[in-house]
Amino acid sequence: MNYLLRGIGVLTAVGTVSLLAFSLPSGVAHGDGGGDVMPRLTHKNWQQECASCHLAYSPALLPRASWQRLMGKLDNHFGDNASLDPATQADILRFLEANAADVGTSQIGRRVMRMGAKDAPLRITDTRWFVGKHDEVPRAAWSRKSVGSAANCAACHSKAEQGVFDDDTVRIPK
């Protein structure tokens, strides 16, 4: 009787601990807000360097192979020279790889991969996930001066800087 009770106690304790271990955020990559919120990540060089020209796009939006290709030719980054010193470049690539769509643990990453990004696209806007998410946006809206480019998330997503992309926070400018 005593042993049985003790056994149940031990099992409960182990169960609780492992449940906690799997549900609590155990690293930066687990701060996943769900379907339309980017995983909450912090990385000094990623935020400082990438965001000096555009939003620091979430690494969860492209697979590892895409980030490797992209970071391998920063001297011609979609026509612009975005070259970095080798140490900073390697540091950012390590971060992107660790949190890529097919490596990290975010819901968004899993979705991007499920919709097929295995051919390692260089542009987030070329993923089927992105295209599907924006299928109701009129074509003309993309080229409005107030938007400028599909790379300018914050033009319509008012909380893009905070990683929030749900429909309630969208306002397409005229």
Binding site: H54, N81, V147, A154
Partner: protein, 134 residues
């Protein structure tokens, strides 16, 4: 007794070193590389460099002002429409305070606009012009 004081001074000096650059030290830095005195730098040449148009992509022309606007005290826009803080120190005191950052942007932007790196004199002229704007 002396030791904590010395340590404090050392800390002060080393934090000072990280952000010790100013437009003046940068002009001296670039002038030294050309082998001429700072007085040989030319704000007028710097302005010409800023405004001169060069062949860009798809038949368009490009200059520093394309992104930084004709008035460097105004904020600019990157190619994807993100705000660029003003270039002129009069409007943005953070400009020209970090030589590594300055060299990084000269390297990138001279390649984009001029299809080549800028030389030390051009960089010195450029800083000379922007830093005398009131």
């Amino acid at each position: 007794m002396i030791k904590p004081f010395a340590l404090a001074m050392l800390a002060l000096v080393s934090t000072g070193v990280a952000a010790a650059d100013t437009p003046t030290t940068l002009m001296a830095h670039f002038a030294q590389k050309t082998g001429s005195p700072v007085s040989a730098l030319s704000a007028a040449r710097g302005e010409t460099l800023y405004r001169s148009e060069h062949p860009g992509r798809a038949g368009t022309s490009v200059s520093c002002a394309s992104c930084h606007t004709a008035n460097p005290k105004h904020p600019g826009r990157t190619r994807v429409n993100k705000r660029i803080e003003p270039l002129a120190p009069a409007a943005n005191p953070e400009r020209f305070t970090d030589v590594a950052k300055v060299e990084k942007w000269f390297r990138r932007n001279c390649m984009d606009v001029l299809q080549r790196e800028c030389n030390a004199q051009e960089k010195g002229d450029f800083v000379a012009w922007l830093s005398q704007i009131k």
